[in-house]
Structures are given as structure tokens and as C-alpha cells.
């Protein structure tokens, strides 16, 4: 494993970097590293590339697996291609987390003068060489600075993204990035340099929330953004020990915190241009998802009944009354009510009405209620119809966000 300064001496200059953050991904990283080598060889035949694993000190020899696999894949290439692809691994510094790993990659990009950086999750099983071309191509050609992924997903997956992060980010910052926390991105060298220069690497961004932070920063700082179809994303099963409330605290907490970070941008009501979408959505077969909706609804009703003091503190009386009525009936949480709940939780987060982790964690039963509503409504609909439902929610957010502007102004 090399450190960055040793790497700089042996590798510069580099045009395209494929960074792979990792921690204990020894079982899966070899496939990602091999694919990255092929991606650079196939899609950037006249560019110098670097496969850079940024590891958090994995005891399972992840860096060795990544470097060995990439070197083997490089050995299979023609001699001319072999010479222009370097392979290395660094151990990142700072708090443990994907963000710290990214920081190391972005700093390397700046020091090596790379024009494009692609970051790929180390547990990807569906990654293909064309992903490198699709994520880095529009950047190398100078069209955009940031490319977000657009995966084909089951209509009931990505519910935090669909119900909160996408509509909120789109309503507040614009851009229409459908999967702002996709995990795999393409970034220009200029934007990577900006990321590395930000004073966030000792905060939660270093541990979690890096994906949304990158997307929002690109949108809010006026970089040209795009999204590209990548097909289905298949990766290791999620950690079964990670609870939904913890996920919400990380993802939604980051989304709310970013509203504060870039308040001076979005309160001016300047929205980013709609991001162009590259590629075509290819039909893929997705595994069915069976959900116990009744339990989610039961949990929702129990939460509304038991956390009444907290909701009464965070929500205005009309919204709180509507929420109680929805818990008492069968109609579920409407789009408008849900958008209002999220807006008022964002304001409560900003006001610090409660300890922030407790506040976002208390959103869990409501999120389950909203997810149950979405699943019931779209159970017999096609994927496209379910997507239209997500887009309808985004339009409601775009209306309700005026309330966020007004309340935020009152706070300042």
C-alpha cells in the first residue's frame, strides 16, 4: 500500500482516476477493480488512468485484493494500454467512513491534475466497464462537472430517496437529480479540488452523508450537473443490524444540515438548471419485493399516538391535526401532508426545537406511514406509473417549499 506522496512521484500525470473507497470489502472489490481497469482501457484509450483504492485499514486484506486484481486485469491488456494505467492503494486518514476515503481520492485528483474522477462502491456486483465511460465521458468531453447515477430500481426500493431526499433537494436546489445519494459518481478535477478544499472532513460528512453532500454542493455551487443511466445496481446486502431510524438520522439529517449550509443560495430562490440525462434506460429484471404494509401502518399509528408531544412541538396545529386524522383513517398520508411534515421537520431541525438526532429519529413512524401509503397506492401499478407518482410528489414539494422560504426568513 502506497501513501499519496509516493504515488505522486510515480504516477503523475493522470487524466482519469477511478477511486474505490473500501473497508473490509475483500470479497467483492476485485471485481470492481478489474472492471475499472477495463473501463479506462475501453472508453479512454488515449488517456492515462489510475485505479486508486482508498482504504480504511481493512484487516481482511482488501487493498491487496484490489491491487492484485487490477494488476492482473492490466496484464491482460495490450502493451500500449498497460503503460498508461497505474494501480495503487492508499490508506486514508481522518474519521472512519466513506467521506474520508473520498477526500483522499479528491486530493490525489488535484495533485495529479486529473480531469475526471469516478468513484465506485467497493461492494458492487453489477458494475460494468461502460459505467466508467458513462460517468467520466461527459466530464472528459467538458460537457459537465458532475455526473450522478441513474439506476433501475424496484418501484418500492429507495423510499427515503423517493419520499424525502429527491423531492426536497429538487424543490430547494433544482437540478432534478433523481438519485442524489446513488453512491457512484463522476466528478471533474475542478469540482474534486473544490470538494477537497472544503472544511468538512472532520464532520459527519467524513463518516456518512458524503453522497448527498457531493450532489448538493455541485448544485448549490453552480457546477454543471448531469445524470446517466447505469442499469440495475446490485451490491452486497445491506447491514441487517442497521436500523431504519439510524439510516434516517444519517440521510435526512444530512439533507436538513445542507439546507443550513447553503441557505444563502436557496433562499435567493435560484434553482439549478435541469440536469441532462445521458444514455437510455435499459429494461432489467428486478427481484420482487414483498412488504408487510399492515405492520408499517400499525407502527405509524402507534407512533402518532405515542410521540404526540414531539409532533405537537414540531408541527403547526393544522398539520398536526391532519396527521392525527390520517392516522385515524385509512387514506394514509397525502402528498401535501407529507411535504408539509418534511418542511416543518426541517424548520424544527434548524430551530433545534429538539436534540437533532432525536428529532429526525422521531420521523421514523411517519416515514413508515408514508411508505405504506405509497406502496398501497402503487401496488398494482407499473414501474412507470409508480415513477409518475414520485414525480407528482416532487411537484407538491415544489409548491410547499414556499412555506419553507417563509419560515426560514422568519427565523433569520
Amino acid at each position: 500500500m502506497a501513501d499519496l506522496s509516493a504515488l505522486l512521484g510515480s504516477t503523475a500525470p493522470v487524466d482519469v482516476i477511478v477511486g474505490i473507497p473500501s473497508f473490509n470489502n475483500g470479497a467483492t472489490i476485485a471485481h470492481v477493480a478489474k472492471t475499472a481497469v477495463r473501463g479506462i482501457a475501453d472508453y479512454f484509450p488515449d488517456r492515462r488512468g489510475l485505479i486508486l483504492n482508498s482504504d480504511g485499514g481493512s484487516p481482511d486484506q482488501t487493498p491487496r485484493a484490489a491491487v492484485d486484481a487490477a494488476l492482473r486485469a492490466r496484464d491482460d491488456l495490450e502493451a500500449s494500454a498497460r503503460d498508461r494505467i497505474a494501480v495503487s492503494s492508499v490508506r486514508y486518514r481522518g474519521p472512519s467512513g466513506k467521506g474520508s476515503a473520498f477526500r483522499e481520492i479528491f486530493e490525489a485528483a488535484g495533485k495529479l491534475g486529473a480531469s475526471a474522477v469516478v468513484v465506485l462502491d467497493a461492494d458492487l456486483r453489477s458494475v460494468a466497464p461502460e459505467w466508467i465511460g458513462r460517468l467520466a465521458g461527459p466530464i472528459v468531453s467538458g460537457e459537465v462537472d458532475f455526473v450522478a447515477p441513474l439506476y433501475r430500481r424496484h418501484k418500492f426500493d429507495g423510499t427515503i430517496t423517493n419520499a424525502i431526499v429527491y423531492p426536497l433537494t429538487d424543490a430547494v436546489f433544482g437540478g432534478g437529480i433523481r438519485q442524489p445519494i446513488g453512491g457512484d459518481f463522476g466528478v471533474s478535477g475542478r469540482l474534486a479540488g473544490l470538494y477537497a478544499s472544503k472544511d468538512v472532513w472532520d464532520t459527519d460528512v467524513a463518516r456518512f452523508g458524503i453522497d448527498l453532500w457531493m450532489t448538493t454542493t455541485a448544485l448549490a455551487e453552480g457546477f454543471r450537473v448531469a445524470q446517466t443511466h447505469l442499469g440495475a445496481k446490485v451490491h452486497d446486502p445491506k447491514d441487517p443490524g442497521q436500523h431504519l431510524a439510524a439510516m434516517l438520522v444519517q440521510v435526512v439529517g444530512t439533507a436538513f444540515a445542507l439546507l443550513e449550509t447553503y441557505a444563502d443560495v436557496w433562499t435567493m430562490r435560484v434553482l439549478a438548471d435541469r440536469a441532462p440525462t445521458f444514455g437510455q434506460a435499459e429494461p432489467v429484471t428486478l427481484d420482487p419485493v414483498l412488504v408487510d404494509v399492515a405492520r408499517m401502518e400499525e407502527q405509524f399509528r402507534f407512533g402518532v399516538q405515542t410521540l404526540d408531544r414531539i409532533y405537537g412541538l414540531c408541527l403547526p396545529s393544522k398539520v398536526w391535526a391532519d396527521l392525527r386524522a390520517s392516522a385515524a383513517g385509512d387514506a394514509g398520508i397525502s402528498d401535501t401532508l407529507w411535504a408539509q411534515i418534511i418542511i416543518h421537520f426541517a424548520i424544527a431541525f434548524h430551530r433545534r426545537s429538539l436534540a437533532r438526532d432525536q428529532l429526525v429519529s422521531s420521523l421514523t413512524p411517519l416515514y413508515l406511514g408514508r411508505t405504506a401509503t405509497f406502496i398501497r397506492r402503487n401496488a398494482d401499478r407499473s414501474d412507470d406509473e409508480a415513477e409518475a407518482d414520485v414525480q407528482a410528489l416532487a411537484r407538491v414539494f415544489a409548491d410547499v417549499v414556499r412555506e419553507l422560504h417563509r419560515l426560514w426568513k422568519e427565523e433569520s
Binding site: 424496484h154 427515503i160 431504519l244 407502527q299 432525536q358
Partner: protein
């Protein structure tokens, strides 16, 4: 001079008049001190809440749970008002003690000695009580949210027990500070806490593990070991 009046009665009357005059002056001075202390205290009560409002203290109090703790105790005014009242009473007490000390009288000296000894302990006790109330609110709310998210039907009960335990601990510490039967307070708290722990231990031990498990599962347990929505990839 009345020849029938005893000579020592005149002396007594003279001494009584002189004493009465002195006491009257002392009382007047004392009343003056009380009025002065009250005036200062009223000023403190008027000014402190405004200052705290300017410093957005009430918002901070809501954020850290102080407002919620007060509302739970049926104290509906803004926290800055209570801080103002508390400081006003302290001001009244301190100015009165200081004024009394300036009279340099034996009985006021006794008040001064006891009062000055009492003030730090009293302030410490109040601070402990407020910190305890805040901690109780924070802990109880955190447990309530976690228990609801875990699907525990007895979330409110568990949260309430946690609140009471933290408040009991704070109350015991505060009472000990002001010297209210410290041995009794410590013993009472130990007995209460020990009783709770013993009851739980008995439920699991003597009452039978199976019975306790069945009961807890029925009463407190989740309907399933899996989290609602765990089939989904949320992010």
C-alpha cells in the same frame, strides 16, 4: 412626681422607652432594607427576562428540553420568566442579608451567618434540580423515541420510569445539598432504586424465566423480530 409610684418603675419605663425607640429604629431600618431589597429584586425580575429574550434564551431552553420539562410540571410561562423570578428571590435574599449585616445587631448577625451559609447550598440545589429535570427530559424522550421505533407497546411506560428515576436521583442530590436529612434521603433513594432493581431481578429469577419472557413478549415485545419495512432498500 407621684409619691405613690415606685422609683424603679420610672427607671423601667425610661429603659423601656429607650429600648422601644432603639427597636423601632432597627425595625424601621430593617423595613427600609426590605423595601430596598424588594425594589432591587423587582428590577431584576423585570430586566432579566428581557435580557434573556434578547439573547434568545427561550429558544435555547426549548432546544435543550427545559421548556418541555417546565410544561410537564404545569409551569406554562416562558423559561426566561422563571429565571427572572429565581434571580429576583436570590437578590432579595442576598440584599436583605447584606443590609441586615450592616446593622451589626446580634440577632441580625445570626440571620446573616445562617443565611450566607445557606445561599451557596441552595443555589447548588436549584442548579442540580434544573439539570436533573433537563436530563430526565432528554433521557425520557430518547428512550420514548427509541422504544416507539423498536415497536415496544410499553414505550410510554418505560420512558416514564426512566424520567422518574432520573428525577429521583436529582431530587436526592438536591435535598442532600441543602442538608435536608441527608442520611434519610440517601437511604430512601437507595431503597427505591434497590427495590426497582430487585423487582426486576425477581421477575426474571424467582418468577420464572419462561413466565417473565412470555409476559414481556406479550406486554412489551414487538410483534415480530423484524423491523417494519426491513424488506425494503430504503436508501
Amino acid at each position: 412626681m407621684n409619691p405613690n409610684r415606685p422609683a424603679d418603675f420610672d427607671g423601667w419605663l425610661s429603659a423601656f422607652s429607650e429600648r422601644l425607640a432603639i427597636i423601632s429604629v432597627e425595625l424601621l431600618l430593617l423595613m427600609g432594607i426590605i423595601v430596598f431589597a424588594a425594589a432591587i429584586a423587582l428590577m431584576v425580575r423585570a430586566i432579566v427576562p428581557r435580557l434573556l429574550s434578547l439573547l434568545r434564551f427561550d429558544r435555547l431552553a426549548a432546544r435543550i428540553g427545559l421548556t418541555g420539562a417546565l410544561h410537564r410540571s404545569s409551569l406554562e410561562a416562558a423559561p426566561s420568566q422563571y429565571v427572572g423570578r429565581f434571580l429576583a428571590w436570590i437578590t432579595l435574599f442576598v440584599v436583605f442579608i447584606a443590609g441586615s449585616a450592616s446593622l451589626n445587631l446580634p440577632w441580625t448577625q445570626r440571620i446573616v451567618d445562617r443565611g450566607l451559609l445557606f445561599v451557596p447550598a441552595f443555589v447548588s440545589a436549584v442548579v442540580i434540580a434544573i439539570a436533573g429535570a433537563l436530563l430526565a427530559e432528554f433521557v425520557a424522550r430518547g428512550i420514548l423515541i427509541a422504544a416507539v421505533n423498536a415497536g415496544w407497546r410499553a414505550a410510554s411506560l418505560i420512558s416514564a420510569i426512566a424520567r422518574v428515576l432520573v428525577l429521583l436521583l436529582a431530587a436526592a442530590m438536591a435535598l442532600e445539598q441543602i442538608g435536608v436529612a441527608p442520611v434519610v434521603v440517601a437511604a430512601t433513594f437507595s431503597i427505591l432504586l434497590g427495590g426497582v432493581v430487585l423487582a426486576v431481578a425477581l421477575a426474571f429469577g424467582l418468577g420464572g424465566r419462561d413466565l417473565a419472557r412470555d409476559y414481556l413478549k406479550r406486554k412489551f415485545g414487538r410483534t415480530s423480530d423484524r423491523e417494519p419495512g426491513s424488506e425494503l432498500d430504503h436508501v
